[in-house]
């Protein structure tokens, strides 16, 4: 059978890879996908741990995770779409509109 630590290592790898996508890629859609990968890592952790202890709590947690993901994805996708519509770009470098412009106030 599979030791718990192996499942957890796989989950950790998924999480780190997802985080890598979030941190290293610059497109909003990629960042969202990276978030999904991270969530999957978390889900695997929960399932593995839940099965290890032999109760349904881990699965309940993952069901909640699915719900939250669904809600998050819907809203995030619309926001990405609106950003795309407005700025004609989905790269995060171009979406720094909220940044306070250093040069403006020094004049």
């Amino acid at each position: 059978m599979i030791p718990l630590s192996h499942s957890l290592i796989i989950a950790a790898l998924l999480f780190v890879l997802g985080l890598a996508v979030v941190l290293l890629r610059r497109e909003l859609l990629f960042i969202l996908i990276g978030l999904e990968v991270m969530l999957n890592g978390v889900a695997l952790t929960a399932i593995a741990a839940g099965q290890y202890w032999g109760n349904a709590d881990g699965q309940v947690l993952v069901i909640m995770l699915l719900t939250v993901t669904a809600a998050e994805v819907v809203v995030a996708l619309i926001l990405v779409w609106l950003a795309f519509d407005h700025y004609k770009a989905v790269r995060v470098e171009t979406l720094t509109h909220l940044r306070d412009d250093t040069d403006r106030s020094t004049s």
């Binding site: 599979i2 030791p3 890598a20 941190l23 996908i33 069901i63 699915l66 819907v74 790269r91």
Partner: protein
């Protein structure tokens, strides 16, 4: 056989997740994510969570990722310029990730109690259901409210022109 399928599908899941890091087109990234999800669903099944395996495919791959693809098709994105990942600006992130991975592996490998291989107990959908509508009822309600809120937010945000 069981171990072989487990490690094979976990390898697929991890490799597909890694592929997301390097592919150029968002649609390809989404496809790799779907592959990763399906492999993960198999892992869930093998770990004794058949309900979650089915839900993972149905909800995640079947609904959430379809939404992703749908939006990508609506936006009709062009292929992005593929920046090299090893930019100077990325060194902070890469070192942080390495540190994180090191810490986690350190944690996992230092606990010998986690290495015991117990037998897999299959937890039936029925048990999950009674846990959901028993002790976790409040969480279900909260999730319902969250979904409602997301619905309202989506409706509001997608009302173009009227805002």
């Amino acid at each position: 056989m069981y171990e072989f399928i487990f490690y094979l599908s976990s390898a697929i899941a991890v490799v597909a997740a890694g592929a997301i890091l390097v592919v150029r087109h968002p649609v390809h990234a989404a496809l790799y994510l779907i592959v990763s999800l399906l492999a993960l669903a198999l892992l869930f099944f093998l770990l004794g969570a058949p309900l979650l395996a089915a839900l993972q495919v149905m909800l995640y791959a079947g609904a959430i990722m379809v939404l992703f693809l749908f939006m990508m098709m609506v936006m009709n994105l062009r292929t992005e310029r593929n920046l090299p990942l090893l930019l100077p600006g990325n060194w902070g992130g890469i070192s942080l990730l390495a540190l994180l991975l090191w810490l986690v592996l350190l944690l996992l490998l230092s606990r010998s109690s986690l290495d015991e291989a117990g037998s897999i107990t299959v937890i039936e959908p029925k048990e999950v259901g009674s846990a959901l509508f028993g002790p976790y009822l409040v969480v279900v309600e909260a999730a319902a409210i969250l979904l409602l809120a997301a619905l309202v937010a989506a409706l509001y945000l997608s009302r173009k022109g009227k805002r």
